[in-house]
């Protein structure tokens, strides 16, 4: 297994995150060689600068956390994030359109974003806490069909985060065609390893340091 730290997207998405919080986040990510920092798009340029020549990637969230912005706005936000220095994009699927059973619109929403970043990793957040089993299956299929590189469980702003059950279901649907990112509520080494053993290839968490050092964490994401 690759080092545990390389599985982790070190995450800070709170509305109130300050410039100093982001600088601190980047410092920690460099120190522990996490895979990426995961941040809101207004801090992409700052993070890029902080992480120059460190090998740590910048991952930006798009249409976050509701997924309910217009497709065009998601495309523009993605392009701007890339321009500012993002390496990877985590977009939220349009959950409302999924609930409306307007699958073509859900699919086009994702495909349009993937089209503007053909060479970058796109992760699609399903927000599984709002979905029943058939919806998780459908959403996974739509995301993979639209070119998602990863399907991701949660934003951390919904009613709950990842569960073993959701991840197993997504893994089953993905069947090697896309990778899985589990996020939300992963706060300790044991939980992290449980997901990795299920085949998860990325973990989104604010508790990265606690996970790799085996300490308990007080973070909520």
């Amino acid at each position: 297994m690759a080092p545990l730290s390389s599985y982790i997207d070190h995450t800070l998405l709170k509305a109130t995150a300050t410039k100093n919080d982001i600088i601190q986040l980047c410092k920690e990510a460099k120190e522990h060689q996490f895979h990426a920092v995961c941040i809101n798009s207004c801090y992409a340029a700052l993070a890029k600068e902080q992480l120059k020549n460190s090998g740590v990637k910048v991952c930006c969230v798009i249409g976050f956390p509701l997924g309910a912005m217009s497709t065009e706005a998601k495309i523009f936000e993605t392009k701007q994030a890339l321009f500012d220095g993002a390496d990877e994009i985590d977009m939220v699927l349009n959950i409302g359109l999924l609930k409306s059973k307007d699958f073509a619109a859900v699919w086009k929403d994702i495909e349009a974003v993937k089209k503007c970043i053909p060479n970058n990793i796109l992760k699609v957040i399903l927000e599984t806490c709002y979905l029943d089993e058939p919806e998780i299956i459908k959403a996974s299929e739509l995301a993979i069909q639209s070119g998602a590189d990863f399907i991701k469980t949660s934003t951390g702003f919904g009613t709950r985060g990842a569960t073993i059950h959701d991840v197993k279901l997504m893994k089953h649907v993905a069947d090697g065609k896309a990778k899985i990112k589990a996020s939300g509520g992963i706060k300790d080494y044991g939980t992290a390893m449980q997901y990795i053993n299920l085949g998860v290839e990325r973990l989104g968490t604010s508790s990265g340091i606690a996970i790799i050092t085996g300490q308990p964490s007080t973070e909520s994401y």
Partner: protein
């Protein structure tokens, strides 16, 4: 009294379906609400449903965290206008405010304001995350940016509007901008209290509008506002309150 003209009927949940938006617009029509407030993905749909009704479409931008890049907020706002929005509600960049980088907070708002020209701009402060001093600072930045309405809350944070915060905002901005209260306003009585405290608009996802005579004349100032909002200009009442 009828407070329908103060109400932005709101549905912003991630799971909102097309059917939910259709119901929202129908109820807004039935009740004659001032506006519906929705996410940008549904603006075009709401526009179709509300054509020629006079009910406005308010669309949220950078919602609910306010942490999208300024350029993305500007584009999202312009796109919402193109789809048919009549008002733009953006979330202030709270991270910049907390970093005490007030220039960036101001620029974020002004860029959106320039992008949407004369369209009414509301700025959401998210008061649950702010101290009293930060609320005052945020208000004065909004005034510098010439925003039309200052809105208390997104409804997605730990709590919504408070009377205390509404009074602080009112005291800070006086009549230089309007105040919109939102988050947790779920009944008529509460709505009235906010109107009395200086609120001009109410954002709620509850249909709170019993036309009740018993409370009709509860507060002269609010009632006068109501008459004006309903454009009952030459009524005896207005003459009475203006004398």
């Amino acid at each position: 009294m009828d407070i329908s003209k103060f109400i932005d009927y709101t549905l912003l949940k991630a799971t909102t379906s097309e059917r939910d938006v259709i119901n929202l617009c129908n109820e807004a029509k039935l009740n004659g609400f001032y506006a519906v407030c929705i996410n940008t993905a549904y603006v075009a749909l709401a526009k179709q449903l509300l054509e020629n009704t006079g009910i406005k479409i308010a669309s949220v931008i950078g919602f609910p965290l306010g942490a999208t890049s300024t350029a993305a907020k500007v584009y999202e706002a312009k796109k919402a206008l193109e789809d048919g929005a009549d008002e733009i509600e953006m979330v202030m960049n709270l991270g910049f405010l907390k970093s005490r980088n007030f220039v960036l907070v101001l620029k974020d708002i002004i860029d959106v304001k320039l992008g949407i020209k004369d369209t009414p701009l509301k700025v959401i402060l998210e008061i649950s995350e702010l101290s009293k001093n930060e609320i005052i600072k945020a208000c004065s930045i909004c005034l510098d940016a010439k925003v039309d309405v200052i809105k208390t809350s997104s409804g997605f944070s730990k709590s919504g509007a408070t009377l205390t915060a509404t009074k602080i905002i009112k005291k800070t901005i006086k009549d230089q901008a309007q105040i919109m209260v939102s988050g947790g306003i779920e009944d008529f009585e509460t709505a009235l209290k906010y109107l009395e405290a200086g609120a001009d608009r109410i954002g709620t996802s509850k249909n709170i509008n019993p036309v009740s005579n018993s409370i009709q004349n509860r507060n002269a100032k609010v009632y006068k506002k109501y008459l004006e909002a309903n454009q009952i200009q030459n009524s005896l009442e207005i003459q009475y309150y203006n004398r």
